[in-house]
Structures are given as C-alpha cells and as structure tokens.
Amino acid sequence: MIFDAILEPFAHAARVITDRLHNGSMARYLAIATLTILAAGYFAYGTGTHSPGTRTLTPIEPVPAVGWLLLVGSTAALFAYHRNRLLALVLVGVIGLMVSVGFVYLSAPDLALTQISVEVATVILLLLALNFLPKQSPVESSTGRRTRDGLIAAAAGIGIGALIYALMMRDFAFSPISEFHLANSKPGGGGTNVVNVILVDFRGYDTFGEIIVLGIAGLVIYALVEALLRGGPANDRLLAWVPDQKRAGDRHPLMLVVATRMILPIAIMVGAYIFLRGHNEPGGGFIAGLVVAIATVMQYMASGFGWAAARQRIDYHALIGWGVTIAGLCGVGSWFASRPFLSSNFGYFKLPFIEKFELATAAIFDVGVFLTVVGAVMLALASISRIAIRAGETVNAEPFDIQPDEVPASKGAR
C-alpha cells in the first residue's frame, strides 16, 4: 500500500511528461532537440573560458560579396517561399552552386567539383520525387507556431554563426595533423593533391567505410522500390495514377537526344581525365564517378528509360559490388608486402615518347571508389525512375518520338 502510494504520483508525473513530449510529432522532437543543444551550447559558452580572436580578417572582395548576397538572398527566399516546392528546388540549386563557387574561391577546388556534381544529381533526384509528391505545401501551422519555429531557427542560426566566427578568428589550439599530411603527401603518398592523397592513402580506411555506406544506401533505395512495387496500396495507387501536371508534348526532344549522345563519349573522357589526374591535381575517384553517373543519367533523361535500360550492359548492383571488392582487395594486397591493411605504394615509370609518370596502388583503390559511386548514384536514380513506369508512364521503344530515319517507302528505306 505504502509502496504504491509513493510510486503512483511518480508514475503519473512520468506519464504526463512523456505524453506531452512524446506525442508522435516529429517537429516537436526536433524542436526539443534543437533547444537542448542550444541550451548546452549556451551553458558551455557562459561557463567556459576563451581567448580573444587574434587572426586578421581576410579582405572582402566585391565579387565574393555578390556571391554571398546570392547565397543569403536565396536562403531568405527559401524561407519565405518554401511552400512552392518547385521554386524551393530552384533555390536549393542556387544555394548549392554558390556554395561550390565559395569552395573554389576559398582554395578548395576538389570540394567545388564534388559539390557541383552532387548538386546536379540531388536536383534530378528531388525532381523525380516531386513528380509524385504534391507540388505545394499547405499552410497548416498557426502563426504562433510559425513564430515559435522561426525564433528557434533564428537562435540556432545565430549560435552556429557566432561559433564558426569565433572559431575562424582564433588560431589552432594545438598544431593540427594537416602539416604532417602536407609534408608527407609527395614523399609518402606519391601525389601532389593532398586532399586526394588523404582520401585514398592516409585515411583510406575511412574512405573504404564511406564507399560501403554509399553502396548500402543505393541498395536500400533499390530494396525500398522493390517493396513499393510489390502488390499493396502503393502499387494500387501507382496503377491508378493520374498526372497532376500537364505533360510535355515532346518527351524526348530531338536536339536533346542528339546532343546528349554526342556528349556521352566526351563526358566519359572527361571522367577518365579527372580520375587520372586526381592524385596530383583536383579530381579523383569520387568526382570522376559523379561525372560519369551524370553523363549516363542524361541518356535516361534524353532518350527515355526504356532505350537506356535496353543498352545497359552492366548491372548497377554489380558495379557497387565490384567497387567495394576492388577497394577491399587493394587493401588486402598490402598484406602480401607484409604491410598493414590499405598501405599504398608507388613508383615512377618511363615509357618511350612520353614523360616519366607515376603509378600508385592507391589508384586501384580509387577505381573501387569510382565504381561504387557510379553504381550507387545510378542505382538510386534508376530505381526512382522505375516508379514512374509503374504509374503508367509509357516507355519509348524507339529513341525518338519523331523518327528521323523514317523516309517514305518510295524513296527506299535506309
């Protein structure tokens, strides 16, 4: 009796608190998490000590200032117009572009190349998804709630902005490991692009894990689509799908079809070039993989899913598998030289008529990265496209809507 009497109020209080906090609304959880992080950060700021900023400000040139204006302007516009989803997507594209331009200005060419190619893939992905999602977000929250969310967001933004500003104005407290990387990149890793050498050599194990994650993400998307297209409410809904937007009359415009096919070999060549120079100049497996994947996606977009799928010789699953396997075997290979997993080696070779060139085992690892990136990106985008086919989107058996080689029989077929 006494035990119950003591316990009951606690149980009741616990239930009240849990029901209040845990009402199944994701927005509420996220708001609570944001506020908690903010409070912890503010507490740390209030109780900790910090030295004054000693670094001098980098000067602001007019052109970067215009870039900043575009970035901040589109972010503000996204805040205001996020209900119009297509417009939101355009604004995200502008923001991504400005971020990548910012990277190239702030001495990060590799990041800029990666960001801009990921940007293309992300926008294509979101467009494919938006084809099925509603094009507008309804106004659901009350003004009070929107104000509250706005205040939380503003507090978080000011906090993060102040934190990074304070960080950038101070020197490193300890000497960073980057100096080791810069000093050992050429003598130890054999490459002059330090970022790429870190990726495929110094931190190769980390990259190995990351390509596995990327491969898993691609396979998860494939599995999700498979599950959706099996009989069930989603499948029924797709079979009864009525497009809510007007369709373009000419789905595969002749100009686009011809242009993308002409560009494909050039794009593959650019991909190979970016891959090969990656060890010494901006580039590498990640960027080359993205470039090749986008060039391939362009074929799907221009010529249609059916046409492209009929000419696809390599399974994307296999690409992911081979990528991870090659990267893993490259790591295992170093055991035979009695060195730790994923150690790399390099040497300089001379062939007649061309300059002395360098070959590194890290390049084999980079091939693995390349294959996984191509496989995962293609599998993700191609899987989402399959939903459209189930929704009754017809597939062109022929590459063009208009057949340029269809000549009247009297003149004789080709």
Partner: protein, 120 residues
C-alpha cells in the same frame, strides 16, 4: 570574408532548422539538405579560410590551406547525397502507401493546428 562565411552558415542553419520543423516530408528533406550545406561549410571553415592557396603541392609555395577538413567534407558531400536519396525514397514510399505526406504519427494528426485563412 570570415564574417560573410559565418553569416552564410548561420543563415543556412536557421533556414534548415525552420524547414525541418514543418509537418510535410518535402520541406523536411529540403531542410536537411540546407543543414548539410551548413554543416559542410562549417567543417570546411574550421580549417580557417585562405584564398588562392589550394592544397596542391607546387615548387614555390607560399604555404597551403588545411587539406584535412577538405578531405573530410569531400566524402561528407557524397555520403549526404546517398542519405538524401534514402530519405527521399522513404518519403515517396510513405506518400504512395498512405496518400499523405504528413510526417507526424496518428496522434499528431488528430489535432492539427487550424489552418488560418489568408495566412502566409
């Protein structure tokens, strides 16, 4: 320049947080994408800003920018694409299964805030 980068990071974070507090899947996805940009630029900027000194070893260097944060962010960008693709697929799947793109659970939907007429 530091001020511009810091304010841009703050602005993108604020926009991302605001959007992930919405009730529909698409704004939440866009909000997560905005947070990805903010976090990537944050990590990149924690290597301090330098202009015109890419970490490519040359013969006559004036020094280089910090390569490590760049390597970390490079993989983060690619991984975040994979993660975005997964949540997009999950959002699409839930919309097709239920005919609704609300992210809350059932209890949350029973008491939706009243949409206000004429409100933005």
């Amino acid at each position: 320049m530091e001020f511009l980068v810091a304010s841009a990071v703050g602005m993108m974070t604020a926009c991302g947080i605001y959007l992930i507090l919405r009730k529909r899947t698409f704004p939440v996805i866009v909000g997560l994408a905005m947070l990805t940009y903010a976090v990537n630029v944050f990590i990149f900027a924690s290597g301090r800003l330098t202009i015109g000194l890419p970490p490519i070893i040359t013969h006559n260097p004036e020094g280089y920018t910090d390569p490590l944060t760049q390597a970390l962010v490079l993989t983060a960008i690619v991984i975040s694409f994979g993660m975005t693709a997964v949540i997009v697929m999950m959002a699409l799947g839930s919309f097709l299964e239920t005919g609704d793109d609300n992210i809350g659970m059932e209890e949350d939907r029973e008491t939706p805030a009243k949409p206000q007429e004429g409100a933005e």
